[in-house]
Amino acid sequence: MTQPLVGGRIVRPYTMTGGRTMTQSPPIALEALVAATPEGMRRRRQFRWEAAEIISRSRRETAVVELAALLAVPVGVVRVLADDLRAEGAVTITEPPSALVDETGGEVYTDLLHKVLDGIKSL
Protein backbone atom coordinates (compact mmCIF):
# COMPACT_ATOMS: atom_id res chain seq x y z
CA MET A 1 0.00 0.00 0.00
CA THR A 2 2.95 2.26 0.60
CA GLN A 3 5.35 3.35 -2.05
CA PRO A 4 7.94 6.06 -2.27
CA LEU A 5 6.61 9.06 -4.09
CA VAL A 6 9.70 9.90 -6.07
CA GLY A 7 10.01 7.52 -8.96
CA GLY A 8 6.57 6.14 -8.28
CA ARG A 9 4.87 8.41 -10.76
CA ILE A 10 5.68 9.77 -14.15
CA VAL A 11 4.20 13.16 -13.35
CA ARG A 12 4.82 14.44 -9.89
CA PRO A 13 1.77 15.83 -8.14
CA TYR A 14 3.17 19.31 -7.67
CA THR A 15 3.77 19.51 -11.41
CA MET A 16 0.06 19.03 -11.97
CA THR A 17 -0.81 21.77 -9.51
CA GLY A 18 1.86 24.20 -10.66
CA GLY A 19 3.71 23.68 -7.40
CA ARG A 20 0.82 24.74 -5.20
CA THR A 21 -0.63 23.03 -2.17
CA MET A 22 -3.98 23.44 -0.53
CA THR A 23 -3.86 26.17 2.07
CA GLN A 24 -7.50 26.27 3.10
CA SER A 25 -7.90 25.08 6.66
CA PRO A 26 -9.60 22.76 7.18
CA PRO A 27 -9.04 21.50 3.65
CA ILE A 28 -11.90 20.70 1.28
CA ALA A 29 -13.52 17.53 2.61
CA LEU A 30 -12.84 14.20 0.92
CA GLU A 31 -16.57 13.77 0.35
CA ALA A 32 -17.23 17.37 -0.77
CA LEU A 33 -19.15 17.29 -4.04
CA VAL A 34 -17.76 18.97 -7.13
CA ALA A 35 -20.22 19.99 -9.85
CA ALA A 36 -19.33 21.51 -13.20
CA THR A 37 -21.10 24.75 -14.05
CA PRO A 38 -22.43 25.42 -17.56
CA GLU A 39 -19.63 27.95 -17.91
CA GLY A 40 -17.10 25.33 -16.86
CA MET A 41 -18.44 22.92 -19.46
CA ARG A 42 -18.21 25.61 -22.12
CA ARG A 43 -14.65 26.54 -21.25
CA ARG A 44 -13.48 23.02 -20.49
CA ARG A 45 -10.94 22.86 -23.30
CA GLN A 46 -9.15 25.94 -22.01
CA PHE A 47 -7.94 23.99 -18.97
CA ARG A 48 -5.08 21.53 -18.88
CA TRP A 49 -5.76 17.83 -18.78
CA GLU A 50 -6.39 17.11 -15.12
CA ALA A 51 -8.55 20.21 -14.64
CA ALA A 52 -10.51 19.50 -17.83
CA GLU A 53 -11.06 15.92 -16.64
CA ILE A 54 -12.39 17.20 -13.30
CA ILE A 55 -14.93 19.31 -15.17
CA SER A 56 -15.97 16.40 -17.40
CA ARG A 57 -16.27 13.96 -14.51
CA SER A 58 -18.29 16.38 -12.41
CA ARG A 59 -21.12 16.90 -14.86
CA ARG A 60 -22.79 14.70 -12.27
CA GLU A 61 -21.89 15.84 -8.77
CA THR A 62 -18.86 13.81 -7.80
CA ALA A 63 -16.87 13.73 -4.56
CA VAL A 64 -13.29 14.97 -4.37
CA VAL A 65 -12.12 11.51 -3.30
CA GLU A 66 -13.96 9.91 -6.21
CA LEU A 67 -12.39 12.30 -8.71
CA ALA A 68 -8.99 11.43 -7.27
CA ALA A 69 -9.64 7.72 -7.77
CA LEU A 70 -11.07 8.17 -11.28
CA LEU A 71 -8.20 10.38 -12.42
CA ALA A 72 -5.63 8.25 -10.54
CA VAL A 73 -4.11 11.31 -8.88
CA PRO A 74 -3.65 12.01 -5.16
CA VAL A 75 -6.53 13.65 -3.31
CA GLY A 76 -4.42 16.78 -2.72
CA VAL A 77 -4.13 17.39 -6.46
CA VAL A 78 -7.90 17.33 -6.88
CA ARG A 79 -8.27 19.68 -3.90
CA VAL A 80 -5.96 22.28 -5.43
CA LEU A 81 -7.37 22.02 -8.95
CA ALA A 82 -11.01 21.99 -7.83
CA ASP A 83 -10.35 25.04 -5.69
CA ASP A 84 -8.85 26.82 -8.72
CA LEU A 85 -11.79 25.79 -10.88
CA ARG A 86 -14.18 27.12 -8.26
CA ALA A 87 -12.34 30.47 -8.29
CA GLU A 88 -12.76 30.47 -12.08
CA GLY A 89 -16.48 29.76 -11.79
CA ALA A 90 -16.03 26.46 -13.61
CA VAL A 91 -17.28 24.26 -10.76
CA THR A 92 -19.18 24.55 -7.51
CA ILE A 93 -18.15 22.64 -4.39
CA THR A 94 -20.67 21.46 -1.79
CA GLU A 95 -19.06 20.80 1.58
CA PRO A 96 -20.70 18.27 3.91
CA PRO A 97 -22.86 19.60 6.73
CA SER A 98 -21.45 19.25 10.21
CA ALA A 99 -22.97 19.24 13.67
CA LEU A 100 -20.19 21.61 14.66
CA VAL A 101 -21.47 24.38 12.41
CA ASP A 102 -25.14 23.81 13.11
CA GLU A 103 -26.20 27.05 14.72
CA THR A 104 -29.80 26.03 15.24
CA GLY A 105 -29.09 24.12 18.39
CA GLY A 106 -28.65 20.89 16.51
CA GLU A 107 -32.05 20.82 14.83
CA VAL A 108 -30.78 20.94 11.27
CA TYR A 109 -28.23 18.24 11.97
CA THR A 110 -30.77 16.02 13.71
CA ASP A 111 -33.13 16.39 10.73
CA LEU A 112 -30.28 15.37 8.46
CA LEU A 113 -29.56 12.26 10.55
CA HIS A 114 -33.25 11.30 10.38
CA LYS A 115 -33.14 11.58 6.59
CA VAL A 116 -29.97 9.47 6.44
CA LEU A 117 -31.60 6.88 8.68
CA ASP A 118 -34.74 6.73 6.51
CA GLY A 119 -32.55 6.48 3.43
CA ILE A 120 -30.48 3.57 4.75
CA LYS A 121 -33.58 1.74 6.00
CA SER A 122 -35.23 1.94 2.60
CA LEU A 123 -32.22 0.69 0.62
Binding site: M22, R60, P74, T94, P96
Partner: protein, 194 residues
Amino acid sequence: MESSHSDRGLTPVKIVVAGGFGVGKTTFVGAISEIEPLRSEAIITEASADVDELFGDGTKTMTTVAMDFGRISLKHDLVLYLFGTPGQDRFHFMWNELARGAIGAVVLVDTRRIEAGFAAVDFFEKRGTPFVVAINTFHGRKLHSIEEVRHALQVGPETPIAYCDARVRVDVQKVLVTLVEHALDLASTGAAVN
Protein backbone atom coordinates in the same frame (compact mmCIF):
# COMPACT_ATOMS: atom_id res chain seq x y z
CA MET B 1 -23.04 10.79 -19.55
CA GLU B 2 -25.64 13.33 -20.72
CA SER B 3 -25.48 16.52 -18.76
CA SER B 4 -28.86 16.82 -17.15
CA HIS B 5 -28.15 18.86 -14.03
CA SER B 6 -31.15 17.12 -12.50
CA ASP B 7 -28.92 15.71 -9.78
CA ARG B 8 -27.93 19.11 -8.43
CA GLY B 9 -28.41 19.88 -4.79
CA LEU B 10 -27.07 16.64 -3.35
CA THR B 11 -25.75 16.72 0.21
CA PRO B 12 -22.72 14.53 0.94
CA VAL B 13 -22.49 12.61 4.20
CA LYS B 14 -19.87 10.17 5.42
CA ILE B 15 -19.44 7.13 7.63
CA VAL B 16 -16.03 5.71 8.52
CA VAL B 17 -15.34 1.98 8.69
CA ALA B 18 -12.34 1.34 10.91
CA GLY B 19 -10.56 -1.67 12.30
CA GLY B 20 -7.38 -3.67 12.02
CA PHE B 21 -5.66 -4.75 8.85
CA GLY B 22 -7.52 -7.52 7.04
CA VAL B 23 -10.63 -7.42 9.21
CA GLY B 24 -12.95 -6.96 6.23
CA LYS B 25 -13.43 -3.20 5.96
CA THR B 26 -13.41 -3.10 2.17
CA THR B 27 -15.68 -6.16 2.06
CA PHE B 28 -18.09 -4.34 4.39
CA VAL B 29 -18.05 -1.24 2.18
CA GLY B 30 -18.42 -3.30 -1.00
CA ALA B 31 -21.40 -5.24 0.35
CA ILE B 32 -23.62 -2.14 0.27
CA SER B 33 -21.90 0.32 -2.07
CA GLU B 34 -23.57 1.01 -5.41
CA ILE B 35 -20.12 1.18 -7.00
CA GLU B 36 -17.23 -1.23 -6.73
CA PRO B 37 -15.13 0.20 -3.91
CA LEU B 38 -12.61 2.65 -5.31
CA ARG B 39 -9.17 3.37 -3.97
CA SER B 40 -7.69 6.82 -3.73
CA GLU B 41 -4.41 7.99 -2.38
CA ALA B 42 -3.34 10.89 -0.24
CA ILE B 43 0.25 12.01 0.09
CA ILE B 44 1.65 12.42 3.53
CA THR B 45 4.89 13.59 4.97
CA GLU B 46 5.74 11.33 7.85
CA ALA B 47 7.87 13.81 9.77
CA SER B 48 5.03 16.24 10.29
CA ALA B 49 2.13 13.88 9.65
CA ASP B 50 0.66 16.51 7.37
CA VAL B 51 -1.87 15.02 5.07
CA ASP B 52 -1.70 15.99 1.45
CA GLU B 53 1.34 18.15 1.64
CA LEU B 54 2.59 18.15 -1.91
CA PHE B 55 6.02 19.66 -1.36
CA GLY B 56 8.99 18.03 0.20
CA ASP B 57 11.69 20.13 1.81
CA GLY B 58 14.10 17.29 1.32
CA THR B 59 14.12 16.22 4.94
CA LYS B 60 10.77 14.53 5.20
CA THR B 61 9.85 11.12 3.92
CA MET B 62 6.85 11.31 1.64
CA THR B 63 4.62 8.32 1.18
CA THR B 64 1.20 7.68 -0.17
CA VAL B 65 -1.58 6.25 1.94
CA ALA B 66 -4.47 4.46 0.29
CA MET B 67 -8.08 4.46 1.38
CA ASP B 68 -10.95 2.50 -0.07
CA PHE B 69 -14.41 3.97 -0.30
CA GLY B 70 -17.86 3.29 -1.64
CA ARG B 71 -20.92 5.37 -2.43
CA ILE B 72 -24.62 4.93 -1.69
CA SER B 73 -27.28 7.24 -3.08
CA LEU B 74 -30.01 7.77 -0.52
CA LYS B 75 -33.37 9.37 -1.05
CA HIS B 76 -33.82 12.94 0.19
CA ASP B 77 -31.03 14.09 -2.14
CA LEU B 78 -28.32 12.56 0.02
CA VAL B 79 -25.24 10.69 -1.02
CA LEU B 80 -23.46 8.61 1.61
CA TYR B 81 -19.76 7.85 1.30
CA LEU B 82 -18.32 4.94 3.26
CA PHE B 83 -14.61 5.15 3.94
CA GLY B 84 -12.42 2.28 5.00
CA THR B 85 -9.51 3.49 7.12
CA PRO B 86 -5.99 2.53 6.18
CA GLY B 87 -5.27 -0.55 8.25
CA GLN B 88 -1.68 -0.01 9.27
CA ASP B 89 -1.03 1.54 12.64
CA ARG B 90 1.40 4.04 11.22
CA PHE B 91 -1.41 5.75 9.33
CA HIS B 92 -3.64 6.43 12.32
CA PHE B 93 -3.23 10.17 11.98
CA MET B 94 -5.09 9.87 8.68
CA TRP B 95 -8.13 8.93 10.75
CA ASN B 96 -8.58 12.53 11.86
CA GLU B 97 -9.09 13.57 8.28
CA LEU B 98 -11.53 10.74 7.75
CA ALA B 99 -13.44 11.36 10.98
CA ARG B 100 -13.85 15.10 10.37
CA GLY B 101 -17.51 15.70 9.52
CA ALA B 102 -18.41 12.01 9.72
CA ILE B 103 -21.81 10.96 11.04
CA GLY B 104 -19.98 8.26 12.93
CA ALA B 105 -17.84 5.17 12.64
CA VAL B 106 -18.17 1.42 12.52
CA VAL B 107 -15.34 -0.39 14.31
CA LEU B 108 -15.13 -3.78 12.65
CA VAL B 109 -13.52 -6.48 14.78
CA ASP B 110 -12.52 -10.06 14.21
CA THR B 111 -12.87 -12.00 17.47
CA ARG B 112 -9.70 -13.96 16.69
CA ARG B 113 -7.81 -10.66 16.95
CA ILE B 114 -9.88 -8.37 19.12
CA GLU B 115 -6.81 -6.33 20.05
CA ALA B 116 -6.68 -5.05 16.46
CA GLY B 117 -9.77 -3.00 17.32
CA PHE B 118 -8.27 -1.23 20.36
CA ALA B 119 -6.73 1.65 18.43
CA ALA B 120 -9.98 2.49 16.65
CA VAL B 121 -12.07 2.34 19.83
CA ASP B 122 -9.56 4.60 21.63
CA PHE B 123 -9.50 7.04 18.77
CA PHE B 124 -13.26 7.49 18.37
CA GLU B 125 -13.84 7.60 22.12
CA LYS B 126 -11.28 10.35 22.60
CA ARG B 127 -12.54 12.27 19.61
CA GLY B 128 -16.17 12.00 20.65
CA THR B 129 -17.19 10.47 17.32
CA PRO B 130 -20.29 8.26 17.62
CA PHE B 131 -19.31 4.66 16.91
CA VAL B 132 -20.65 1.13 17.04
CA VAL B 133 -18.73 -2.13 17.14
CA ALA B 134 -19.51 -4.76 14.51
CA ILE B 135 -18.14 -8.25 15.03
CA ASN B 136 -17.38 -9.73 11.65
CA THR B 137 -18.55 -13.35 11.56
CA PHE B 138 -17.40 -14.00 8.02
CA HIS B 139 -15.41 -16.95 9.22
CA GLY B 140 -18.73 -18.45 10.22
CA ARG B 141 -18.05 -18.67 13.91
CA LYS B 142 -19.03 -16.56 16.85
CA LEU B 143 -16.01 -17.29 19.00
CA HIS B 144 -16.92 -14.80 21.68
CA SER B 145 -20.16 -13.46 23.06
CA ILE B 146 -21.04 -9.81 22.66
CA GLU B 147 -20.45 -9.30 26.37
CA GLU B 148 -16.99 -10.86 26.11
CA VAL B 149 -16.16 -8.50 23.25
CA ARG B 150 -17.54 -5.54 25.20
CA HIS B 151 -15.34 -6.47 28.13
CA ALA B 152 -12.25 -7.05 25.99
CA LEU B 153 -12.66 -3.72 24.18
CA GLN B 154 -13.59 -1.94 27.41
CA VAL B 155 -16.53 -0.11 25.85
CA GLY B 156 -19.44 1.05 27.94
CA PRO B 157 -23.01 -0.26 27.76
CA GLU B 158 -24.09 2.80 25.76
CA THR B 159 -22.02 1.69 22.75
CA PRO B 160 -23.94 -0.74 20.52
CA ILE B 161 -22.18 -4.00 19.60
CA ALA B 162 -23.59 -6.42 17.03
CA TYR B 163 -22.59 -9.41 14.95
CA CYS B 164 -22.49 -8.97 11.21
CA ASP B 165 -21.24 -10.82 8.17
CA ALA B 166 -19.39 -8.13 6.25
CA ARG B 167 -20.21 -9.87 2.97
CA VAL B 168 -23.96 -9.68 3.52
CA ARG B 169 -25.72 -6.52 2.44
CA VAL B 170 -28.58 -6.71 4.92
CA ASP B 171 -26.14 -7.24 7.81
CA VAL B 172 -24.16 -4.18 6.76
CA GLN B 173 -27.38 -2.22 6.37
CA LYS B 174 -28.42 -3.14 9.94
CA VAL B 175 -25.07 -2.02 11.33
CA LEU B 176 -25.39 1.33 9.54
CA VAL B 177 -28.94 1.78 10.87
CA THR B 178 -27.68 1.04 14.39
CA LEU B 179 -24.89 3.58 13.97
CA VAL B 180 -27.12 6.39 12.72
CA GLU B 181 -29.66 5.71 15.47
CA HIS B 182 -26.81 5.87 17.99
CA ALA B 183 -25.56 9.12 16.44
CA LEU B 184 -29.11 10.51 16.72
CA ASP B 185 -29.26 9.58 20.41
CA LEU B 186 -25.95 11.32 21.03
CA ALA B 187 -26.89 14.35 18.91
CA SER B 188 -30.12 14.84 20.86
CA THR B 189 -28.14 14.87 24.10
CA GLY B 190 -25.51 17.13 22.57
CA ALA B 191 -22.75 14.59 23.10
CA ALA B 192 -21.59 13.96 19.55
CA VAL B 193 -18.70 15.64 17.82
CA ASN B 194 -18.09 15.45 14.11
